[in-house]
């Protein structure tokens, strides 16, 4: 009951926080000392006051800033996030098209970083010296310090250009028709449509960018899992379990690892939000048509509606992930009381 009240309270706060984010992104984007007309009009057009005036009038840019924001907020309350200057489509349509691509990439990266990072960190926490520990240290150091841009290009050169193991950058082969949209995620949509060849093609295309994107998360999860394991293995209940004569790996997995995993779970949730927000470089290198690329183009061209739409979507994602992590935390750790 307490948990339910807590969840309801957090959900009710979401709109208020999102309005705050919209104000912040509106103010920050308008602080840039440049004019969208400069970004969107060619040299000739930008020198013609009639064309500039028509452009500004068409996009509401000739109104005072508070009026522009108020009009935006009114639209937002009706689910209208305005029209993108770059794509000339409703921002909601753009986000609906772009967000799933980033989610799919982030899920792929998250799965890889958890599947590799958590066991590696666990093993390195148990065997504090030796190959596993060294491997874990190397992986976590390289993961958090290697620039994604460089890694992505090197990965393309090695796995695609030289070895031919990976397909060309992009979410699907150029000659493959995308499956009908159900969830917006290519692999599930292809499976649901019975197009298993397309699903496999999408999976092959996802593998390399997801691996590249996962490196930071992999590094941080490995390191965290190792340190929480080391700490947990010194706890009294672990000593008690050993004293009771339980097998070593039973103690490690059933007793220590479960508890060591709790803080890792929190970080996983935050990492997922980071993956969604920080995929811009990976998406650019791999020609992945996701939110990151959209955000970069919006920021580069002062596309205010798109900038604010992306800002609010990412904020919403972080808030939801944070809520899910808190709730999950409360479920799996009975010591935690929230609300």
């Amino acid at each position: 009951m307490r948990l339910a009240r807590y969840v309801v309270r957090r959900v009710l706060l979401l709109p208020v926080l999102l309005v705050g984010v919209s104000v912040l992104s509106f103010v920050l984007s308008h602080l840039v000392p440049a004019d969208p007309a400069t970004a969107f009009l060619g040299q000739r057009a930008a020198g013609d006051p009639v064309v500039v005036a028509a452009f500004k009038h068409r996009w509401g840019l000739d109104r005072p800033l508070p009026v522009q924001y108020w009009i935006y907020l009114e639209g937002l309350l009706h689910g209208d996030m305005g029209t993108s200057l770059s794509t000339r489509r409703p921002v909601t349509v753009d986000l609906r098209e772009r967000f799933p691509a980033t989610v799919e990439l982030a899920i792929g990266a998250m799965v890889l970083s958890v599947v590799v990072g958590v066991p590696l960190g666990l093993f390195a926490g148990v065997r504090r010296r030796g190959i596993a520990a060294d491997a874990a240290r190397a992986v976590s150091l390289l993961g958090v310090s290697t620039p994604v841009f460089w890694l992505g290009l090197m990965a393309i050169i090695l796995f695609y250009a030289e070895l031919g193991w990976a397909p060309a950058p992009g979410p699907l082969g150029l000659e493959v028709t995308p499956p009908p949209t159900i969830t917006g995620l290519l692999i599930p949509d292809a499976v649901l449509a019975g197009q298993f060849g397309v699903a496999l093609d999408a999976l092959k295309h996802l593998a390399l960018p997801a691996a590249v994107l996962s490196t930071y998360s992999l590094g941080s999860l490995t390191r965290l899992m190792r340190s929480t394991m080391i700490e947990t293995l010194t706890e009294d209940y672990v000593r008690t379990a050993r004293a009771k004569g339980l097998p070593h790996w039973s103690v490690v997995v059933r007793h220590a690892a479960r508890n060591a995993f709790i803080p890792v779970l929190t970080v996983m949730g935050l990492n997922f939000g980071n993956l969604l927000a920080g995929a811009v470089v990976t998406e650019t290198v791999f020609s992945w048509p996701g939110l990151g690329q959209y955000a970069f183009e919006a920021a580069s061209s002062l596309d205010f509606a798109a900038i604010m739409g992306v800002g609010m979507l990412i904020a919403l994602t972080y808030l939801v992930m944070s809520l899910l992590v808190d709730v999950t935390y409360a479920f799996i750790d009975p010591r935690v009381r929230i609300g």
């Binding site: 840039v32 000392p33 440049a34 004019d35 400069t38 970004a39 969107f40 009009l41 060619g42 040299q43 000739r44 057009a45 930008a46 020198g47 013609d48 009639v50 064309v51 028509a54 452009f55 068409r58 993108s84 770059s86 794509t87 000339r88 489509r89 753009d94 098209e97 290009l153 393309i156 050169i157 695609y160 250009a161 031919g164 397909p167 060309a168 950058p169 992009g170 082969g173 150029l174 000659e175 493959v176 028709t177 995308p178 449509a193 019975g194 197009q195 298993f196 060849g197 397309v198 496999l200 650019t284 290198v285 020609s287 048509p289 690329q293 959209y294 183009e297 580069s300 061209s301 002062l302």
Partner: protein
């Protein structure tokens, strides 16, 4: 006792487990093989039918009436037809397209075009002169950034279904290359009106067809637009109603921002054409088997601007300093940085069109003379800021090494410039606000005529950015008048001679003409007919793929 079983025929029997295991493995393997090897469901026609183009997109939208962007031009050239066109790289000899012939009145103010008969839109409806008039009126009345193309046009007439007339306020020979621009592609007015299109005087507020035209086409071109995912991918398919047929069934244009990625994908055969690579990528691809590299002359002029307003330009507003800058530069070194195929500019007009000064008349490096001019101006040790777009790569030219070279060259004669790299938006703002002291910039053609480069004249668009007006000096006034005379001269030879005089005077203005780069692009050897045009990049309908 051996438990060996006896088998029929004397050999050992295969156990049930082994039998089922083997059968299962065989079936599973066959399924897996089928899964891995089978073409994915929904795969397009086999290679040879689909052309795959990788390019860094330059698209705001695909509404012909509202865009001038290069990639948009390329797509619109494929899906819409214009009255006239140019073939391949050529931008000097207009060819018939929707118009089979055209005449001009003796006073040069009225052009009459005879339309090709039997041309049908995607919808199946036959094209008439009313569609041409509607499309042109729409472009003019929506007052978009492409509307200037019809500046000086008084009226577009449709006296009969096969005749279009364009009446001008004053003679304007450039109208012929202008109507070849993809922004003047003819739309199916019935379809576009049904989707909110308007061509009336209030089209600025009443036209709402942009969204439709950015995801659908309504033309007579060789292709039709199947889909466009903004900044991601555009897919074109053969238009069965078209009077001209392409050589491929389908074109997929993929937005690949990284030139290095385009290079790799071309090498691996994942794309057929890499359209926006730089010179380093072109150099790497030259030796690759199965790849052809070309350098096509662009019409884009690279130049330095020096501000004539003393408050902004400082020492660079002094004509003697401007001359000194022209003499100080090492043009051989700059041409090396401009890349293979680049052409030296003698004046501000592009050599792609008739009338530009030949490269042989370009100023030669003369540092002694530069120093003498600075001494005469009492400005030895002049200082300033050279502004540029940091990290800019345009038409294969990397700007950073070019500005570093300019800085070093000017230092040899005592002019100290600080490099002021900035993001592109800030640089555009500086340039268009007329606040740049000393700046490197470029001008790409809007249409295929020297007219388009009169923007550098006193009082015209770019001239104003340098604070150069007819009032600046008697020579400026004379040049402004000469330019106006050149753009209305209907005799081709006289026009060309006038432009040369204009160019000669422009070269003494607040500019340093640098070069016109050649644009590198590459394609697989199975591709034929790929040529680069300075206005619309590739003519997709002319490309073959074996």
């Amino acid at each position: 006792m051996n438990r060996r079983r006896a088998s029929v025929g004397g050999g050992s029997r295969i156990g049930r487990r082994a039998l089922f295991g083997t059968a299962g493995a065989a079936i599973g393997s066959a399924w897996l093989h089928r899964l891995l090897d089978a073409a994915p469901a929904g795969a397009a026609p086999a290679a040879g039918g689909t052309l795959l183009v990788g390019e860094g997109f330059d698209i705001a939208n695909l509404d012909p009436g509202r865009t001038l962007d290069l990639t948009s031009n390329m797509i619109n050239l494929a899906v819409y037809d214009t009255l006239v066109t140019f073939a391949g790289e050529d931008l000097k000899t207009p060819k018939p397209r929707l118009a089979t012939s055209w005449t001009v009145s003796p006073d040069g103010k009225t052009y009459t075009f005879k339309l090709r008969s039997g041309v049908r839109f995607e919808s199946g409806r036959e094209l008439t002169s009313e569609d041409v008039k509607w499309s042109f009126d729409r472009l003019k009345n929506i007052e978009s950034q492409a509307a200037f193309l019809l500046d000086g046009v008084d009226n577009v007439g449709a006296p009969d279904p096969q005749t279009v007339t364009i009446t001008l306020q004053r003679p304007k020979p450039s109208i012929i290359p202008i109507v070849s621009h993809p922004s003047l592609g003819v739309l199916d007015r019935v379809v576009v009106q049904a989707q909110g299109g308007d061509a009336g005087a209030d089209a600025k507020t009443k036209d709402h067809a942009e969204s439709f035209l950015s995801s659908h086409s309504a033309g007579t071109g060789a292709f039709r637009l199947v889909s466009y995912s903004p900044n991601n991918e555009a897919i074109l398919a053969r238009n069965p109603s078209s009077w001209r047929q392409p050589h491929v069934e389908r074109v997929v244009l993929k937005n690949i921002l990284e030139p290095a990625s385009q290079q790799l994908q071309l090498e691996r055969g994942s794309i057929d054409i890499a359209d926006t690579i730089g010179h380093p990528q072109a150099d790497a691809l030259v030796s690759r088997p199965g790849v052809v590299v070309r350098h096509s002359m662009s019409a884009t002029t690279f130049y330095l601007l020096m501000n004539l307003d003393p408050k902004i330009g400082g020492p660079f507003s002094n004509p003697k300093v401007q001359q000194a800058v022209r003499y100080a530069l090492d043009y051989e070194g700059l041409m090396a940085l401009a890349g293979p195929g680049a052409v030296r500019l003698a004046g501000m007009l592009t050599p792609a069109f008739p009338g530009a000064l030949p490269a042989s008349e370009a100023v030669k490096t003369d540092r002694a003379r530069a120093k003498a001019l600075l001494k005469e101006a009492n400005l030895t040790g002049a200082r300033g800021k050279l502004s540029y777009v940091s990290g800019w790569v345009r038409f294969g030219v990397q700007i950073d090494p070019v500005v570093q070279k300019i800085q070093a060259d000017l230092a040899t004669v005592g002019i100290q410039v600080e490099l002021n790299g900035m993001p592109i938006l800030a640089a555009k703002q500086l340039f268009r606000g007329g606040n740049a002291q000393f700046l490197i910039w470029s001008w790409a053609p809007d249409y295929a005529d020297q007219d388009d480069y009169l923007v550098f004249l006193p009082g015209r668009l770019v001239g104003k950015y340098a604070h150069w007006t007819p009032e600046t000096s008697p020579e400026a006034r004379q040049l402004a008048a000469l330019g106006a005379q050149a753009e209305t001269e209907i005799d081709t030879q006289k026009r060309s001679a006038l432009y040369q005089r204009v160019d000669h005077m422009l070269a003494q203005g607040p500019w340093v003409p640098l070069f016109v780069p050649a644009l590198p692009f590459a394609f697989r050897s199975a591709v034929g007919g790929a040529t680069y045009n300075a206005i619309w990049e590739l003519d997709l309908a002319a490309i073959t793929k074996s």
